[in-house]
């Protein structure tokens, strides 16, 4: 029994890694043919060398990753908290909903990147601007997710709480938020993806550190290896966020509660 589970897991890991190996082999073969100049189309090996140099020798890569992750955490935390708070408020109070709805629709229509020049004027180059852009990317999906979740939660659940003489905050904390979880999780998922893209984009324009900045900086020095390395790191980190954080969060909440079916 156990051995068959190990085989199952190995198979799963294989099917995640195998496609990438194929792509890397094709990539290596093409660069070996020397059709394109090395400085524009570096080989996987030279990207790996660049990785080792930056990760082990100078550790600049770790610095940039840390910078990006700190901004990301701040932006995610602020965006999720803000989206939850306004979503619950709008879901519970029709006057708050009426007041904010047009404003939210209007603001949501403006692409995140449009805010960058304004944010630079307000906050300058660095942490605040990038975090602000991530905040905006996460805020709206979480807001809409929460709003839908709170509005569609069955009256019967609130009635049970009312019967127990629950106070407003207790209804919010113990009934509305867990009940709205499937829809909130959906919002967090979309928001996290937007936020991750927003991070890289904002760092390219409005920062002097971070993965986004590392890519732009490398381009100006014609370090194509580093540009590609940056792109790979963005992809790998997103997979890590998705698998380790989002999936775990889902498994511990809505999946465990039977509110969605496990894949």
């Amino acid at each position: 029994m156990i051995s068959s589970r190990i085989v199952e897991n190995l198979k799963r890991v294989f099917w995640i890694i195998f496609p990438f190996i194929v792509v890397i082999l094709i990539w290596q073969t093409i660069t070996g043919l020397k059709i394109f100049p090395q400085y524009l189309f570096p080989s996987p090996v030279s990207v790996l060398e660049d990785f080792i140099a930056k990760a082990v020798s100078t550790k600049t890569l770790l610095f940039h990753i840390r910078e990006s992750l700190i901004r990301l955490s701040l932006g995610y935390a602020a965006g999720i908290a803000g989206g939850l708070a306004l979503g619950v408020a709008m879901g519970l109070n029709k006057y708050i909903a009426r007041f904010f709805e047009p404003l939210v629709v209007f603001t949501h229509a403006i692409p995140g990147i449009t805010w960058v020049p304004l944010a630079i004027l307000w906050f300058g180059i660095g942490y605040e601007t990038v975090t602000f852009i991530i905040f905006l990317s996460v805020f709206f999906p979480v807001l809409y997710g929460t709003l839908t979740g709170v509005k569609t939660i069955a009256l019967k659940f609130s009635n049970v709480a009312l019967m127990c003489k629950a106070k407003k905050w207790q209804i919010i904390a113990y009934v509305l938020l867990p009940g709205a979880m499937p829809s909130i999780m959906n919002g967090i998922r979309i928001g996290a993806a937007f936020g991750w893209r927003g991070l890289v984009a904002a760092e390219m324009i409005a920062a002097a550190s971070g993965i986004g900045w590392m890519i732009v900086d490398a381009r100006s020095w014609l370090n194509t290896e580093t540009v590609i390395l940056g792109a790979i790191i963005i992809g790998i980190f997103w997979i890590a966020i998705e698998r380790l954080i989002l999936k775990t969060l889902e498994a511990k909440t809505i999946e465990k509660w039977g509110m969605i079916t496990a894949p």
């Binding site: 019967k156 009635n159 049970v160 709480a161 009312l162 019967m163 003489k165 113990y174 039977g258």
Partner: protein, 263 residues
Amino acid sequence: MTRDPILEVCSVSKLFNSSKILAIDNVNLAVERSEFLCILGPNGCGKTTLLNLIAGFKPYFPPTKGEISMTGKQIKGPGSDRVMVFQEQTLFPWLNVQDNIEFGLKIKGVPKAEKRKVSEHYLKLMELEEFKDKYSFQLSGGMNQKVELARALALKPEILLLDEPFAQVDALTRLSLQEELLRVSELEKRTTIFVTHSIQEAIFLGDRICVMTKRPGKIKEEVKVEFPKPRKWANLSDDRRFARLHSRLLSLIQEGAIGNDIK
């Protein structure tokens, strides 16, 4: 007739403004302490409306006319002195069985040790101990209803309101749940109002049965059930008096229905 009513419904009518439907019309009812009262009637006779009015739930509450009072005091909304078990499933999917049973106590701020004591008692009483860590979606329909009942009882309400709690489970499970309910209610001597459209169920459970006519709902007749408690299906099902009472109640319901259709 009733000397010490715990609950009095005086000339209560309910007209739903949105649909202009007069759901119940001039209902008078007095429930004695420790009494098991069944309200029997066909679908749409307003029995659920009556129960929700007693529970104090919107949009049923308040009544258009009349007054409902508990131990002499007019009721103003939902409260933990009147706890309802609903027809549909209302266990919180995000709490396991034990936490569901403890929900109302948590809202009331009962200390943890005390909460555990109460929930353990009801887990044992309802024979749910081995399921205490399970979530609602992992239980059968009948098991879910048992947990609903345990959750309601844990609040120690003055009156237990049951809105066709066994309507969604299969016939065999229903019989055993009815016996179980009777056993627990004999043990606790809790005042109970049980709404049903099943004549057998009403006879088996009730000390008294109020027969309601079709819309607008009125109480057509009150019938005392003289079978001694504890009752068992095995002893009652071929009792002659059971059959006679059954056919009397059936004709009462049918008269009511026909009368209304002609009008």
